[in-house]
Amino acid sequence: MAASRPLVSVYNEKGQSTGNSVVLPAVFRAPIRTDIVNFVHDQMRRNKRQARAVSDKAGEQTSAESWGTGRAVARIPRVRGGGTHRSGQGAFGNMCRGGRMYAPLKVWRKWHRKINLKQRRYALVSAIAASGVPSLVLAKGHSIETVPEIPLVLSDKIQDLKKTKEAVGVLRKIGAWSDILKVYASKHTRAGKGKMRNRRTVMKRGPVIIYDKDNGVKKAFRNIPGVSLLSVERLNLLRLAPGGHVGRFVIWTESAFKKLDALYGTWSKKSQLKVDFNLPQPIMTNSDLGRLLKAFEIQSVLRAPIKRQARRKVKKNPLKNISLMSRLNPYAAVQKRRTLLQQLKGRRTGTTAESKIAARKERTHASLKTKRLSGVNLVKKTKKQQIGATTTTTTTATKTTVSTKSS
């Protein structure tokens, strides 16, 4: 395994670094498999359940019988006899008032779950590994901004603490107190019936203290809200990954920390304290995707990146789109400008094509009218007008001056 195992310094109860340091146990380099943790946690959580059921007599303690058809009532069994409200009421059905429920709960429901040993251990190992990654601990919600180092290892003197006051002092000195303050702030009344079932307050989880030998640690720390205590030999996933989420803030004692290698093994050495266990093999030896992608072996096989993708072009109509037209025919812009100017001029002086057509129409109408009144043959006149019209049309195509002459 190419995992680097740096030295982790040990801190004393005053929060200062003692000279000692321990090599990081290989567990902290194990793969972090949140899916396995989630699954195992889910299964493990069921193991503390107590059986509950409904009385099997409930709703069955009647001798009700259905009245059958023909009585203008629904066919459910009804209570016999008379003289009381209960007589004639429906019984036995789950829909009936005072009837038994649908599928009455039985005690022999499968409350507990068996989880494979390997899975259990894998989950635990992942949870421990995740507790050594500061970002995951922060993301879990712990305030570790003032903690000197993650994983946090304290000297074995902690195990000999007897007073809670001293324990609090230690937590303050190592910068873990802000996490406890968070716990204090999060205390609130439970929602739901648990209130009346001796589970009134709920609060966040704070740090876990993992020790090797209990010379008073447990008693010293247990009254501090949020703190959990665990022995290294008996680590509990429900405490290391509360809620199924990895990254609880863990405080190790030195001997506990040193025991981890013996407990979980390194890849080159099997575990000494567990039967036939070695750390799980990761799927990727190098999980740093960023570095992998920049590596020569990959880069040399890639094609060049397409920085500028040629996308589908919408075809535009040059006849409607002036910029496209002038790209195809630069003279078109000139033409268009000229006609525009002409139109502007013509609008004022009546020399545009439309105005000319309009003027011509007026003239034909006027002359036709006079001819009619005077009684001349109109057919000839129209022919003349047509000839005249053609001449005028040809001249309008060229210069303005010519058309004015003809009209």
Binding site: A2, A3, A30, G132, V133, S135, D288, R291
Partner: protein
């Protein structure tokens, strides 16, 4: 980043854990945001995440005062939360604040992809502080404006 340091917990692996499960996540109809400390845009993306990367840039307001706190992550001390961040108080005028942020990022080649985000966030925060001064009511305005992400503040506080 030191080779092999986070063999199984590289920033990519951490991202896969954090991306959907984090105490800082805020999922709402208008999108997913995060409230983690050194996220310049408060966006839940790999690049802008403030926890995962060894090199990280953060800009926050100075509490009860003028100026901006410019944070950079120290690569050496990823495992030492107490020493992880280098915080610099920038309390001069905005021009100087912005240039010092810009230069630090540019000259050190430190997360160049975050340069504009840092500048925008800084200017939005400074703007909030200026506006808080003009509208006389006490300092609560500075605090709320610092909580919102930079881009939002620039659009909403257009008084």
């Amino acid at each position: 980043m030191a080779r092999g340091r986070f063999d199984q917990a590289s920033s990519h692996v951490q991202w896969m854990v954090i991306r959907n499960t984090s105490s800082f996540l805020r999922k709402r109809k208008l999108g997913t945001l995060t409230t983690e400390p050194n996220n310049l845009r408060n966006r839940n993306t790999f690049r802008s995440n403030g926890l995962i990367h060894p090199k990280v840039v953060g800009v926050e307001t100075v509490k009860d005062g003028k100026g901006v706190l410019f944070t950079t992550g120290c690569v050496k001390n990823i495992k030492k939360p107490a020493k992880r961040f280098r915080k610099v108080k920038l309390t001069k005028d905005s021009r100087r604040t912005l240039t010092s942020i810009r230069r630090t990022i540019r000259k050190q080649r430190y997360r160049k992809d975050l340069k504009m985000a840092a500048l925008r966030r800084a200017s939005a925060l400074l703007r909030g502080q200026r506006l808080a001064l003009t509208t006389t009511p006490p300092s609560t305005t500075t605090k709320t404006s610092s909580k919102r992400s930079g881009k939002n503040t620039t659009t909403t506080t257009s008084s």
